[in-house]
């Protein structure tokens, strides 16, 4: 227990870095996923091919190799910046999540009935208006549950940031283990941290699903049908 009692502050700081990194990469992945996913379905062949190449280029190597490449190799190229360990980790993990998310977004957009885009065109909406006001709000009902699952994985991916010196919870836990030799306690604590973060992430995404426009509309409709059938039943019983 010495590990916890004496090092709780550094562990908390490490946990904070993990949380902060997770939030950044999930938000970054979501944004890049929407852009890449939408470009994958563009009418312009060059944009479709470009987005596909980006997706394949980032998805093919392991995230750890990409991280090493961005942190160690990129600054050696002329004109390229040297990123801090945290910035490199966020950039790589957000892009890596984004390319997986792009396929989720693409599938979600394709799941929206074609009649919806026909109706948008018949009403004179531009492609951007159709996408932002009609297609994406409906596609989110398909995208968010799958992206929630990806986000939970992404929290676990943050552990590789410690390989380039980010002081996340794994980095700190290894330090504490080295100081106290309480390997079992430290790694149990580490597992508990990741478990709690994952569960909280799951709750957050389930809450998000509740407020999605299509889900909200369908929930209202379900409730009204239930109320109507109860009213019918009570009228029948009274009769």
């Amino acid at each position: 227990m010495k590990a916890i009692l004496e090092y709780w502050l550094v562990l908390a700081q490490g946990l904070w870095v993990t949380i902060w990194t997770s939030v950044c990469i999930i938000v970054g992945a979501a944004l890049s996923a929407v852009v890449l996913g939408a470009l994958r379905l563009s009418d312009t062949p060059a944009l479709r091919v470009a987005s596909m190449l980006v997706i394949e280029a980032i998805r093919a190597p392991s995230a750890l190799i990409l991280l090493f490449w961005v942190f160690y190799a990129l600054p050696l190229l002329p004109g390229m910046p040297r990123l801090s360990p945290l910035a490199a980790a966020i950039l790589v993990l957000a892009l890596d999540g984004g390319v997986y998310g792009a396929e989720i977004v693409r599938a979600g957009i394709e799941a929206v009935h074609r009649g919806q885009t026909d109706a948008c065109r018949a009403l004179g909406l531009s492609k951007l208006q159709s996408f932002t006001k009609i297609v994406l709000p409906q596609a989110l009902s398909q995208i968010v549950p799958a992206f929630g699952s990806l986000a939970r994985s992404m929290i676990k991916w943050t552990a590789i940031a410690s390989f380039i010196g980010v002081h996340d919870v794994l980095y700190v836990a290894n330090f504490v283990r080295g100081q106290t030799y309480e390997t079992v306690t430290v790694f149990c604590l580490l597992a508990a941290f990741y478990w709690i973060l994952n569960v909280l992430c799951g709750f957050a995404f389930r809450a998000l699903e509740q407020v999605l426009p299509l889900n909200r509309a369908l929930r209202v409709a379900r409730v009204s049908v239930r109320v109507a059938s109860k009213a019918d039943a009570s009228v029948g019983a009274a009769g």
Binding site: A119, A122, G124, I134, P213, L214, L218
Partner: protein, 286 residues
């Protein structure tokens, strides 16, 4: 449900062209000059190797109510989708009020903005309603006026209430589509198309997804519209009685070609083509 008289009283169905101002040089604008509201000139459409329309020639006068009938797969819906620019023709030209929706003046394919401008003169109601399920009835109705016509929200809502009253659904303003019956959804879809005051309204099998009782309430709305408004109607339907009631002209399709056209009386009582007779027998005996 309101009667046909109320369609004319409120006046929202009067197409924009009818109230359009004269051009700066004093001449009537293009829609007033145009002899035809829609023209199909030798239009072909293929999906891969499958030819859906073959050298179609069809001319519709402003204000005319034309119903396309024929067996499934004969190309009727494709005619509407082409007129709405939801599909591009493989060959030929289509003009809306004299303006090509396929080529520009230089003979090149028209740009997206030109297409959008011409498309604004048409409205379409679909077989599957295609209401936006995540938006309420009111939001469905005001979306296009506020985003496309740049009307204020108050102005758009005022129009929306007017059209909801016309289709008899003013009490459903805050309902979501999933809370409505099929007939109610289709009436909302009609109101959503009409709120933009189209000069041409395309109705694609608007009762096919409805049971007969619900279909009746939708057809009543269109009957009122057909009798009292100056909008050009191009209708695809399998409801022969409805077609007879509302149409100025019936066009019979088979295998991507027009096999016969004429007044409802002629087509339903004395069709020339044996294929038309066979089709009508099969429909009316069904």
């Amino acid at each position: 449900m309101l009667s046909a008289v109320e369609f004319s009283r409120s006046g929202p169905f009067v197409p924009a062209a009818a109230a359009a101002p004269m051009e700066a040089d004093g001449s009537a604008n293009r829609s007033q000059q145009a002899m035809w509201s829609i023209e199909f000139e030798k239009v072909s459409k293929s999906f891969g190797a499958h030819r859906v329309l073959v050298d179609l020639d069809l001319h519709v006068r402003p204000g005319e109510k034309v119903t396309l009938i024929g067996p499934s797969g004969s190309g009727k819906t494709t005619v509407l989708r082409l007129a709405m620019t939801l599909e591009k023709p493989t060959g030929g030209d289509i003009r809306v009020f004299g303006e090509s929706i396929v080529f520009d003046a230089a003979g090149k394919p028209i740009s997206g903005s030109q297409e959008a401008r011409i498309r604004r003169r048409c409205g379409m109601v679909f077989q599957q309603f295609n209401l936006f399920p995540h938006l309420t009835v009111l939001q469905n109705l005001i979306l296009a006026p506020t985003t496309v016509l740049r009307q204020s929200r108050e102005q758009a809502e005022k129009s929306a209430f007017e059209y909801l009253r016309i289709v008899g659904l003013e009490n459903k303003v805050h309902a979501y589509p999933a809370q409505l019956s099929g007939g109610q959804q289709q009436r909302i879809a009609i109101a959503r198309a009409l709120i933009l005051r189209p000069e041409i309204l395309l109705l694609d099998e608007i009762t096919s997804a409805l049971d007969p009782e619900l279909a009746g309430e939708v057809l009543d709305v269109v009957r009122g519209l057909a009798q009292e408004s100056k909008v050009t109607l191009l209708i695809v339907t399998h409801e022969m009685r409805f077609a007879r009631d509302v149409s100025d002209r019936i066009v019979v399709f088979d295998a991507g070609r027009i096999i016969e056209q004429g007044s409802p009386e002629k087509i339903f009582t004395n069709p020339e083509s044996e294929r038309t007779r066979a089709f009508l027998r099969s429909i009316l005996n069904h």
